[in-house]
């Protein structure tokens, strides 16, 4: 049976497309009509065509496995029903993201210089002392344009009342943007006629913008600076993206052993003609692996002397080392204050309500309500060091209680967040699935926000885990001009 919107059950969450059964939001009607007009075999055909496109385009992500093959490439899971966002709403989000990243960059620069914000007691000093991502090696360094987080990926979610919140900021090596670009290509291949119904903003100038952003950081003033994308290599889960971006920018895709820091503190690539100087490195290698002379001495991914080259201004690194200090989950709770402090503006996009265990009053509230909270450790990601209260056992809660009391600085808690849902194809019909959105913000000489971003969707019923490694999929994200309706 084809998709019937009257059978679509909006289950107590905000749904992106459907107000309630059989009532698509006004601007979503043409889209919903289109999908319900597709016959079963047509729907299946399109689904197959999208899978084929993904397979033949080689859009993959890498998953580690224990068998002899080592890591394997999985085809990128893609849902064919797009996720539209109205342009008038998006314009507001875009301004909010720009504001947020501007403040975060001022914050990071302050942390590595005068620490005015600490002296003014807006952010407590002990947060920095204990921060795993604060790098003493970065103190006093002046990266070009005073920007540290050149590429930021902020995760947005929509709550029950339709409000958009920032769930977290990724300031180290955020990934996913290539899938955003590829999803659009797949969609154009498989549903060309849909693009007649809507005026959809293009997404594909991102690589150009990224190039311009990186070029604006070059220490040498030349017409076309030498830009390299530094990847950990083919086994990295985001390798596809590293190669993709390098190709689209016309930059060299390099691995640690391709680079070499000379006695003059400049960075050189090994080429068939000999050594060639590099001006800007878009590095997709974590801080601690960047330079074995300074960080992990056994890192094979990094380049000995790279930090020295960066500190001396001979090469630009994006993102700058140490930028991760601001994507600590505890720091997150302070971002609204950070925005106010540096910009004297109110945040345009709110944070999710967050309790800081470092504050006694909030800690007591958290401990008393552990069964209703999601507790997160400051520097963990990917679901580690996390307690989901409503699904936890008494034993787990007791364990977390001990952890929190022992190291309160390291923990935050949030009420269980209700992610919005969106129609997602399940066999031959549509069901609501939870989703988030990761837009990317570029900061160099200018600021740029992707049109939309990467929509990630939890393909398992009821799940809110959107990571592709854990059963998440993705959708093409449309910013549509509805003429203000």
């Amino acid at each position: 049976m084809p998709i019937r919107w009257k059978n679509y059950k909006v289950a107590g969450f905000y749904d992106e497309l459907i107000q309630h059964a059989n009532r698509p939001r006004g601007w979503a009607r043409p889209l919903c009509r289109f999908f319900s007009s597709l016959k079963d075999e047509d729907l299946r055909e399109r689904q197959t065509a999208s899978e084929l496109a993904i397979r033949s385009m080689g859009i993959t992500f890498t998953v580690y496995s224990d068998d002899e093959s080592g890591s394997i490439d999985r085809a990128w899971p893609f849902d064919i029903i797009p996720r539209p966002i109205r342009k008038d709403e998006w314009d507001g989000i875009e301004r909010g993201l720009e504001q947020r990243v501007r403040a975060l960059n001022l914050f990071i620069d302050d942390l590595y210089h005068g620490q005015k914000i600490v002296k003014d007691k807006v952010v407590p000093a002990e947060l920095l002392v204990d921060s795993k991502n604060f790098r003493p090696q970065c103190v006093g360094v002046n990266p070009p344009q005073k920007v540290w987080a050149h590429v930021c990926g902020s995760d947005l979610i929509r709550g029950k009342d339709g409000t958009i919140y920032v769930l977290e900021d990724n300031l180290r090596v955020p990934s996913g943007v290539s899938y955003m670009l590829e999803n659009r290509l797949v969609m154009k291949r498989v549903f060309p006629e849909l693009f007649d119904h809507y005026s959809i903003e293009p997404v594909d100038d991102y690589p150009t913008r990224l190039y311009e952003c990186l070029a604006s950081l070059s220490p040498r003033r030349r017409e076309s600076p030498e830009i390299a994308v530094l990847t950990p290599g083919i086994c990295n889960s985001a390798y596809f993206e590293h190669a993709y971006l390098a190709q689209r920018m016309g930059a060299e895709l390099v691995e640690g052993p391709d680079l070499n820091v000379g006695k003059d503190n400049c960075v050189y690539m090994r080429t068939i003609g000999g050594l060639e100087r590099v001006d800007v490195i878009y590095r997709r290698v974590d801080d601690l692996f960047l330079d074995p002379e300074v960080f992990q001495p056994d890192s094979m991914l990094g380049v000995p002397g790279l930090m020295r080259a960066w500190q001396n201004g001979k090469v630009a690194l994006a993102n700058a080392p140490g930028a991760g200090v601001a994507d600590d989950k505890v720091i997150y709770a302070f971002v609204p204050k950070v925005i106010k402090y540096y910009l004297d503006e109110d945040p345009l996009i709110p944070n999710v309500l967050t309790y800081l265990c470092i504050n006694k009053q909030e800690r007591n509230h958290v401990l008393a309500n552990l069964d209703k909270m999601v507790v997160k450790a400051a520097n963990e990601s990917g679901g580690y060091g996390m307690l989901v209260g409503p699904q936890s056992t008494a034993k787990e809660r007791a364990a977390f209680k001990r952890l929190i009391c022992k190291d309160p600085r390291n923990y935050i808690a949030q009420p269980l967040i209700t992610l919005s849902t969106t129609p997602t194809l399940v066999d031959d019909h549509a069901e609501p699935r939870h989703l988030d959105l990761r837009p990317f913000i570029l900061s160099g000489q200018e600021t740029y926000v992707t049109t939309g971003g990467l929509t990630r969707v939890a393909l398992r019923k009821g799940s809110t885990v959107v990571n592709s490694s854990q059963g998440g999929g993705s959708k093409d994200t449309w910013i549509i001009d509805t003429g203000g309706s």
């Binding site: 385009m57 190669a243 190709q247 060299e252 052993p257 391709d258 090994r270 080429t271 000999g274």
Partner: protein, 308 residues
């Protein structure tokens, strides 16, 4: 161009060429055997010898039957040169440089490996095998054409062509070597009528029969075929031609002196060689020398451009 990238391109081309050549060898051998009297002891063993992994094969399989040989050459991952492994290696190399080769190139190579893997072992069933291998040859050729039609004519393209031509030259010498060994009739009188078709099959495995006929009239004889495959300056799979191509590729590359010197010596040698006067042993020794030269050339290229 990064040294690592140049190396990847070079090996991608080599592995693709190797896969194609393996497919060619099997198909032609199958056709040849159909034409030969049963008492001729040729069978499938020579293909194993051409691959250079005779000992490995003997360790793994009881006998060089059609089934065992084709499985070893196509699908057995324990054979470092198996067709499937070659495609996989080509794909790994291509993936590592997908920012360099045209996107469609990656798509073809990726699909080629995945499809080939998916159609095994069905593709090896005797009645399907020809189509299966034929399709692989066609798709590698498609890849070659696609790269020729879309790749920037820069250093990368030169490394691609160097890899392909070195692999081709290597395969041509292997085929000539093994075939002249095994195809030389033990009892010339009796088997003479078959010499013709045996050497035709050698030419066919290199898609060279037509070209050969255009240049050389009369029955297909060992002497002429060997000279044609090693010394012809116009057919693009001969030793002379392929090595000459490598020299051409080096023209615009830096630091090429050592490689060019070695090539010039090799070209002088092959042009002057009096192949028609060599007996079985002489030819075998001479081909050994050519293969050694190819290995050294590979070493010089690696040393100059890849291992900085």
């Amino acid at each position: 161009m990064l040294s690592r990238v140049a190396e990847r391109i070079y090996w991608m081309a080599r592995y693709l060429e190797r896969a194609e050549n393996t497919a060619r060898l099997i198909n032609v051998n199958a056709h040849l055997l159909l034409d030969l009297p049963k008492k001729l002891p040729l069978g499938w063993r020579p293909l194993i010898d051409i691959s250079g992994y005779g000992k490995l094969f003997d360790d793994l399989y009881p006998e060089p039957s059609e089934r065992n040989v084709t499985r070893f050459l196509v699908a057995d991952n324990r054979n470092p040169s198996s067709l499937l492994l070659s495609l996989n290696n080509a794909r790994d190399n291509a993936r590592a440089i997908r920012d360099i080769i045209p996107r469609e190139g990656w798509e073809v190579i990726n699909a080629l490996y995945l499809d080939t893997k998916a159609s095994l072992p069905m593709g090896l069933a005797q009645k399907r095998r020809f189509e299966f291998l034929h399709a692989i040859i066609g798709r590698v050729e498609q890849m070659t054409g696609l790269l020729a039609g879309t790749m920037l004519r820069n250093a990368g393209y030169n490394f691609l062509r160097m890899g392909r031509n070195l692999e081709r030259a290597d395969m041509t010498t292997r085929i000539v070597d093994v075939r002249s060994e095994s195809l030389l009739p033990q009892e010339p009188e009796e088997l003479l009528p078959f010499e013709n078709i045996q050497w035709m099959s050698v030419l066919q495995s290199l898609s060279g029969y037509q070209s050969y006929s255009q240049k050389i009239q009369g029955p297909v004889r060992r002497r002429n075929v060997v000279r044609f495959l090693l010394q012809d300056p116009e057919f693009p799979r001969t030793f002379l031609y392929c090595v000459g191509q490598v020299k051409q590729c080096l023209r615009d590359l830096p630091h090429k002196r050592d490689a060019v010197k070695l090539i010039d010596r090799t070209l002088r040698s092959i042009r002057r060689a009096r192949l028609e006067e060599m007996d079985k042993d002489g030819l075998h020794k001479y081909i050994d020398k050519l293969q050694l030269r190819l290995a050294r050339l590979d070493g010089v290229i690696t040393g100059t451009y890849f291992a900085l």
